[in-house]
């Protein structure tokens, strides 16, 4: 146990020994505590009931975020769409990871694939035109894609290539972040992936005169393909 730890803990305990001035504390603070994850839903932007309403909201948010959203009937339609994108955008090398959805998609593309597996070549990944990954879930409230290092090929694959294509199924659409955290808790419990990412639109910046520019450091383009809409 370090000296710093002992000293800081002692200082925290001593600091909190003096109760907070009731005038400052106020009733608002006490009312706020304990709303809990379910309670937050009463304040946050509303999410309608039913799959169709959630899809509508996700599509609305995705459009505002400049996400290319595609709904496809099945795996065959998904692969046709990917081949069309590959031709239009001139993909030469794709990056991806092992998995059912990504495996089928990459096989159908017939392009060289850099797989994000332990020991992969980072420079090769950087040179890829696109990263194709699966996801944990889609979030209707915010138009976000929830990924983890386990579902989506680690950390860099979803951020390093200039274009990120997310393959999802319609049943992965969740209403809000609370539902997303519940899903992760159920899937991983105490054995957490070391990276959990919420991706809300393509990389962006407003650091120059507050003017929106996409693709600051991460992908300039984010495509979400939802199967069985």
């Amino acid at each position: 146990v370090s000296a710093g730890r002992t000293a800081i803990l002692a200082r925290i305990a001593a600091a909190l020994a003096a109760p907070t001035d009731p005038h400052v504390r106020g009733a608002a603070h006490e009312a706020g505590a304990g709303a809990g994850a379910e309670g937050f839903r009463a304040f946050l932007p509303p999410v309608g009931e039913g799959a169709a309403e959630r899809m509508r909201l996700f599509a609305e948010q995705a459009a505002a975020l400049r996400v290319d959203l595609h709904a496809v009937a099945d795996g065959e339609a998904r692969d046709r769409l990917l081949r069309r994108l590959a031709g239009e955008l001139g993909w030469r090398t794709v990056a991806s990871h092992e998995g059912a959805l990504t495996g089928e998609a990459c096989a159908s593309l017939g392009l060289p694939v850099v797989l994000a597996a332990p020991g992969y070549d980072r420079d090769a990944l950087e040179r890829c035109d696109v990263g194709i990954t699966a996801c944990e879930a889609l979030i209707a409230q915010t138009g976000s894609v929830l990924v983890t290092s386990r579902s989506s090929g680690g950390r860099a694959l979803t951020c390093l290539p200039p274009h990120h294509v997310v393959l999802a199924r319609a049943d992965q659409l969740l209403p809000d972040l609370t539902a997303g955290y519940a899903l992760l808790r159920a899937a991983y419990g105490g054995d957490w992936p070391t990276f959990i990412g919420l991706i809300t639109g393509p990389s962006r910046t407003g650091d120059i005169e507050r003017i929106l520019v996409l693709g600051a450091h991460g992908p300039k383009r984010l495509t979400v393909i939802v199967q069985a809409w």
Partner: protein
Amino acid sequence: MSSTAREFHRAAGSVAADTGQRAFMRKALGGYEKTRAATEARFTDWQAARTAAAGIKWDALEDLHALIQRFAANLERRGVKVCWAEDAEQARAYILEVVRRHGAKRIVKSKCMTSEEIHLNELLEREGFSVIESDLGEYIVQLREEPPYHFVFPSMHLTRGQIDRLFVEKHGCASNDDPEALTMEARRVLRRSYLDADIGFTGANFGVAETGMISITENEGNARLTTALPRVHIALMGIEKIIPSLDDLALLLPMLATAGAGQALTCYNSLYAGPRGPDEPDGPEEVHVVLLDNQRTTLLADPEQRDALRCIRCGACLNVCPIFKNIGGHSYGTTYQGPIGSVITPHLRGLKDWKHLSNASSLCGACTATCPVRIDLHHHLLRNRRNAAASASLAERAIYAGFAAVMRRPWLYRAATRAGRLLSWLARPLAGTVLDPLRAWRRTRTLPEPAATSFKDYWRDRAAGKRR
């Protein structure tokens, strides 16, 4: 007056006189206010959300002793090395030791205000390491060798033309002042730094005690690459960043995004739970989390103002502050600018040198009304003023005592107002000159002329029937 106060007066006066700069700032912040209002309006109940967010951070502070231990224990269980730094010196020494032990040459950093607080870049550069700020705004101010202007929008004071000239000078690239082209130029230059760096350095927006994770919020993806590619990750965070549970983020992340930049959610909200797992393709081999006190416990010990530690550094109080809009971010001379900086800096760095910041306020309360975690900001400025008065200089106290003596005695008050009228007439030629005791005010303004008759005299004459 302390040297910090003198410098503040000089810098603030100079920006306030620069109408071009002020118009530029008003335009940028006007855009913020519009998008923010629209995003806020999507909430079912924004005010209740503020109350709940304040409640989460409040409970976290009151339970900090237990939560911070749970946070550290959960991190350590997953192999993260935790450093408890009492002050800036200890944090710097620890970080320097880690960097040296790895034989590192290059360090890539994502935006971290706490590292500005401990002046980390200066130290690492002095020791011969290459340090690159990867957030676009931070990168720009680093190239200009100046501190961030705003702790969320570091380069908001610069025009595209200034940034273009900077890139032409530093990169030797062709001139193009289109924001898109400038961003792509920075992207091109910074890309290599993620792949080449030995150490990735970040801050943290929240520390989740329940799961032992740090949460980082950003728009550009630079923090994501900083934590994905280098083999060592060092994160520096203030001890007040701890929150109890993962679920709390479902409220805090949308609120941070809305208050900070009018976004429903910031582009990347990432949770990091330790070094790369055996089945994971990438991520750092070693992760260090440095918990920094640096006088935060001094603020925690103040039963009146400890709620200022609820701050989630969204920057909303700066964006709405009439003082910030008129004097700009650099005038403050602090790591944290604007109302929150004026409130906490006297606690973190001493009241004597920083009390003047609490006087630079119109007390309009826009900061308090906008704060997503309901910090009582403008009242804290008043409390700082009260605390400062107790340690005022002899001259200042003599002025207050004289003022009180006059105000308590009607005859003296009458005499003083008559003398004031006479003196004001006599001193008219001095107005605004170096001999004018009210020069600071009158240099740029005209003081109203005292009325020929005081209200008391007027009322007495009226009662006596001399006037109507």
